[in-house]
Amino acid sequence: MTGLKHLLAASTALAFCAGPALAERGADGELKIIYWQAPSTMNPFLSGGTKEVEAASMVIEPLARYSNTGEIIPALAAEIPTLENGGISEDLKSITWKLKTDVLWSDGTPFTAADAIFTWQYCTNPEGGCAQGAYFDGVANMEALDPHTLKITFTEAKPFPYTALVGSESPIIQAAQFAECTGSRAPECTEQNFNPIGTGPFRVVEFRANDVITLEANPNYRDPAKPAFATVTFKGGGDAESAARSVLQTGEFDYAWNLQISPEVLNEMEAAGQGKVVVAFATSVERILVNFTNPDPALGPDERSVWKEDGSNAHPILSDIRVRKALSRAIDPVILTEIGYGKTGRPTCNVLPGPDIYVSTANEACKTQDLEEAKALLDEAGWVPGPDGVRVKDGKRLSFLYQTSTNAVRQEFQAIIKEWWSEIGVETELRNISASVFFGGDPNSPDTFQKFYADIEMYTNNFSGVDPEAYMAQWTCEKAPRPATQWQGENINRFCSAEYDALAAEFSRTAGLEARAEIAKKMNDILMQEYVIIPLIHRGGTSAHANSLGGVLINDWDSELWNIADWHRVK
């Protein structure tokens, strides 16, 4: 048990020092992290998965990142540019970043604005297939005013300019190392992609794809006292339960990530007393989506679940708001949270659950289930109970196909919600689809969430960073998936409202946080009060760390390892 040995060695070493206050680089020995989904590369531009982004965040850094409270803090930048300090131009068309001047890459060469510019060119190369390309949308040019001043110009006014090179999904890579790896050559640079040279607290010693990463403290890290750990072992693979067990019960590891497990099981493990479960909330919401178009299998491929401007293909049952509202009123998100998430989730009535300034308080009624009201709504809509308890109207049964991805908690939710709906006379057929197909977006598959060949579907979505503009723009008419767009598009519901589209357009022109928040709340309230989406749970990022690991501030706005330089061993 080398892990245990190191742990013991580290704690005895600590016993002789005066605790973590006496900071010295590498004094705390080995840090063992377990991610049950293993990173497949260290280059987040080639794979946009959360696991790759987080692993890479130990090595490469952006200009600025989000703290655990969702606040933008400088990383490689000396300060955050604002309108007040002149960093953002009056016309909102450019932003000027002052970079820290004393930063060295882990190979000892100085970090300059040229690296940032190279990163932009690298990711926007049309042949590179860069996974983080959206961060550079609207960037017209980047130029170095001097080696440590970077000016980014946008094609049009950008009310929220902290996108390019901000956050762990958009870090800066070294120009010298990746110079030969642009465009179609990007994937061939295995050595560079596995061992990027960075400015972060650690550097890669050995990278085994989808298995284990060994890292050591970066000798050129800008804070000479950090990081406290000399090495990091970053193991991957397996499932969430056993990852949690290795931290909370057997103590083999110090930190385990993304533990979506039944709350009973997690609580039982935590009770063993080896470690703590930590939760942070950002923008993830588990939601039920209602299909506004007709998914009847008898329709042809150009009709089924395709939105038509004249409204001819509306959903025969769900286009009635009373039915949608009844479905929502029959659900109790409080009980769902208790069963599926425990303290790692909380009931929500908004599709936009954060940051706080954007959160609407107009929809709280959804938290209390009211079966009688739901029944009354259906009665009013003309649906009367049939002989077997399922409501009927004009010879049609009130029956829905409810699909989601395969996942233990989702299947439990399906069972419970089916039960609630049957109490108000709604029949539900359940279907679960393998996540790799459901989220796969293959235009030939009938089972993708975009195609929505069902009446109801459930999954989680969120947005990265703190600005909801792109997220709220998802429900505009033009973004409905359809055959012409190869079924791509984010308006999965096929919801279409002129009022909503107008608000989305206004949002993209408005500057000033308060004014933006006002619009965002309005948009959220439309979606909620039209019952386009039935939000269920505001999901938190859930991790566990050993009691002996100090300095962990779990963060769902950015990489959970955002402050790993401050992590240390406690007695």
């Binding site: 080398t2 959360t50 297939g129 284990v212 977006g441 030939n444 990265s464």
Partner: protein
């Protein structure tokens, strides 16, 4: 026999090509997608660009022949270069089979993972055979004895309880309650002295036992059944009547004849060693070939899955041939000409 083997190997070339084509078509038809595991925050246009950069824009047949060229010509050359240090032709621009998820050569991934798979899965197979053959022989020889009944019971448990359950049970007992064995396999561990060897034994113990139980139960059932069939044959009676020692009768005559179906079972199992044990590798995080295959399938990493499956197919063909040749050795009446 040699001519027969040579002919079989020749026939297997078109077979393998057919297999590779069918597998490629299957993977291509399957509705999963390499961008499925990315967060939903990545917009559709970017996803489309990623797909194009993976070469998915080209027609199916062209991608198949590209893979074939990369696998049959470029990969062997690359391996040869690595081994000899020579440069053959334009090795800079020769495209190797790159995994879509890791963007690194597939053969490197396989080579990296082979050691732990061979150690754990291979060892479990050896243990299984070593346990199963004597168990089957004794069970059959003493049919319906207490030994046989207990053996039957345990082997039934062995194949009716799935490994996802036995693995977890062992972890709860030996890692959580007793704290004797590590629940997570350390693939970077290097054996250099007694202590590190002992650690290697400890970390291999649970995955090996889980797999050995499952394999031994199957093999011992076939062994027992086959022994029972042969013990009542006339030649056994004749041999006993001639006064041949009981040991010789059982171990030489009966065992040899009974091994024929068992050899098939064992030979068919050998390629699966290479295939790894998907579930067990996941539970103990051995991260060998099995885990590689399942992550490849989940992320629809076609080059990776295709290459692994093809190597797997080669092994199957070879070991089927070996089994056939062994039939001839075990039973001289079977002739292949």
């Amino acid at each position: 026999m040699l001519r027969y083997a040579a002919r079989r190997l020749l026939i297997s070339i078109p077979t393998l090509l057919a297999i590779s084509f069918i597998v490629f078509a299957l993977l291509d038809l399957a509705p999963s997608d390499p961008t499925a595991n990315l967060p939903l925050t990545i917009p559709p246009e970017v996803r489309e660009k990623i797909r194009l950069s993976l070469g998915l824009g080209e027609p199916f047949i062209i991608r198949y022949f590209k893979w074939l060229e990369q696998f049959l010509i470029n990969e062997p050359l690359a391996v040869l270069e690595q081994m000899t240090g020579l440069t053959i032709g334009d090795s800079e621009n020769r495209l190797r089979v790159l995994s879509w998820a890791t963007r690194s050569p597939v053969t490197d991934l396989i080579v990296e993972r082979l050691p732990q798979t061979l150690w754990v899965v291979g060892m479990s197979y050896v243990v299984a055979v070593v346990i199963a053959v004597p168990l089957g022989v004794i069970s059959a020889y003493r049919q319906y004895s207490l030994f046989d009944q207990i053996g039957t019971f345990i082997s039934m448990l062995g194949f009716s309880i799935p490994t996802f359950f036995t693995g977890l049970l062992l972890i709860v007992i030996f890692s959580v309650w007793l704290g004797w064995l590590p629940s997570i396999y350390d693939t970077t561990h290097v054996v250099e002295d007694w202590d590190s060897f002992w650690f290697q034994v400890k970390q291999m113990a649970m995955p090996t036992m889980v797999l050995a139980l499952a394999n031994a139960s199957q093999i011992s059932r076939f062994m027992r059944a086959s022994m029972l069939d042969n013990l009542t044959q006339d030649y056994v009676r004749t041999a006993r009547a001639k006064g041949v020692r009981e040991r010789t009768v059982v171990l030489l005559h009966v065992l040899r004849n009974s091994l024929i179906p068992v050899v098939t079972v064992i030979a068919l199992g050998v390629p699966t060693i290479f295939g790894g044990a998907i579930v067990t590798e996941q539970i103990f995080r051995v991260n060998g070939i099995g885990a590689l295959l399942i992550t490849g399938i989940e992320s629809n990493d076609i080059p990776l899955v295709q290459t692994l499956t093809f190597i797997f197919a080669i092994l199957i063909v070879v070991f089927n041939l070996i089994a056939d040749l062994l039939y001839g050795v075990l039973d001289p009446r079977i002739r292949y000409d």
